[in-house]
Amino acid sequence: MRAPMNLGKEKIIPIFAMIVLFIGIFSTIYVHANQIEKDTISINGQDYTIDQLFSIGKIRVIETDEGEKTGISLDELMSTVGVGCTDCYKYTIKAKDGYQQTVDWTILKTGILTDYGKVYFPNTAHTLWVRDVIEIEVK
């Protein structure tokens, strides 16, 4: 004869498992439905194509733990696009899948934006690297 506690678990655990599967399925549908397709990157409220950014930015090579990465330097870029007091703000880098990271100027100024739309920083956790960038919000 089974203990009542076990009977409870035998009912509750499969129900929880079903709920978890539904959460996973609905989240997957939501993510795919809300994927933002955008060819431009919005910086401080203005839209730029990657080509435009590379034409106004300064190329820099940085060393990361995944090797050398080449792109336009973010510190020069912020000044070029008209951010006045660069170290007065925080910068939120947003990706098309909803991923975003906020960094202050001391980190941002070390970073680059590559021609495939990925932001890298040297000597930081990869959590701060953002791919498929669609916006850099200055706030």
Binding site: N6, K9, V20, G24, V31
Partner: protein
């Protein structure tokens, strides 16, 4: 003596888990497959459940997470050492919480529906929980600060990515429980040389590669 045996068990299973994260995880990552979900759903759940089944000792899996996370910090193959190490350490702790009310002889897990359900729940929450923990703590530890809006905006992706881990777990946990009938115990005179030897191999292999590649 029992505590020493348990410590050796934590060391060997934690080292095997860390080793698989470092070495096998890198190969999976290069192939473009969802590394995190596969590593958690397959390897983490396998080592965590086998150790639970063999040693029947709550708290052991927490220790395994700490050992595996520490080893992950030395991983030379895939970047983001800090994020992965934090995630692995959290995974051990989350597993302990999920399995807290499951008896040590696993008698509740006799029906196959319970095995599949626990596989789904364990893999999903271990993976999603580890993911969330690393998204919170990595920015804090690395000095950029944690911003809740960043986590909220990415939450649907995190919840979605746990689906693969949960489906793998649904198959892996029943498969691991099938091995209950195999006697994994070692004779006393072989226990320490084997556990320490395997652990040493895992650590030397990972650290040796770190030196070779750096």
């Amino acid at each position: 003596m029992k505590n020493l045996k348990l410590l050796a068990g934590i060391l060997v299973f934690g080292s095997l888990w860390g080793f698989s994260e470092c070495i096998i995880g890198s190969s999976i990552n290069e192939s473009g497959l969802p590394t995190g979900a596969i590593m958690t759903g397959f390897f983490a759940i396998t080592f965590l459940v086998i150790s639970r089944m063999t040693y029947r000792q709550p708290g052991m899996q927490l220790g395994m997470g700490l050992v595996a996370g520490a080893l992950r910090l030395f991983n030379p193959f895939v970047g983001c050492h800090l994020c992965s190490a934090l995630a692995i350490m959290a995974e051990g702790a989350i597993f302990e919480i999920i399995w807290y009310r499951i008896s040590l002889d696993l008698k509740e897990l006799k029906p196959i529906t319970m095995q599949i359900s626990m596989g789904i729940l364990s893999s999903y929450f271990v993976y999603v929980g580890g993911y969330i923990i690393t998204q919170i703590f990595t920015p804090i530890v690395s000095g950029s600060g944690f911003f809740i809006e960043n986590l909220i905006s990415f939450m649907p992706n995190i919840l979605s990515s746990g689906l693969i881990a949960s489906l793998i777990g649904a198959f892996i946990l029943p498969a691991v429980l099938l091995t209950r009938k195999i006697d994994l115990r070692l004779k006393d005179r072989l226990y320490y040389p084997t556990t320490i030897g395997i652990s040493a191999f895992c650590w030397l292999f990972v650290i040796g590669n770190w030196f070779l590649l750096s």
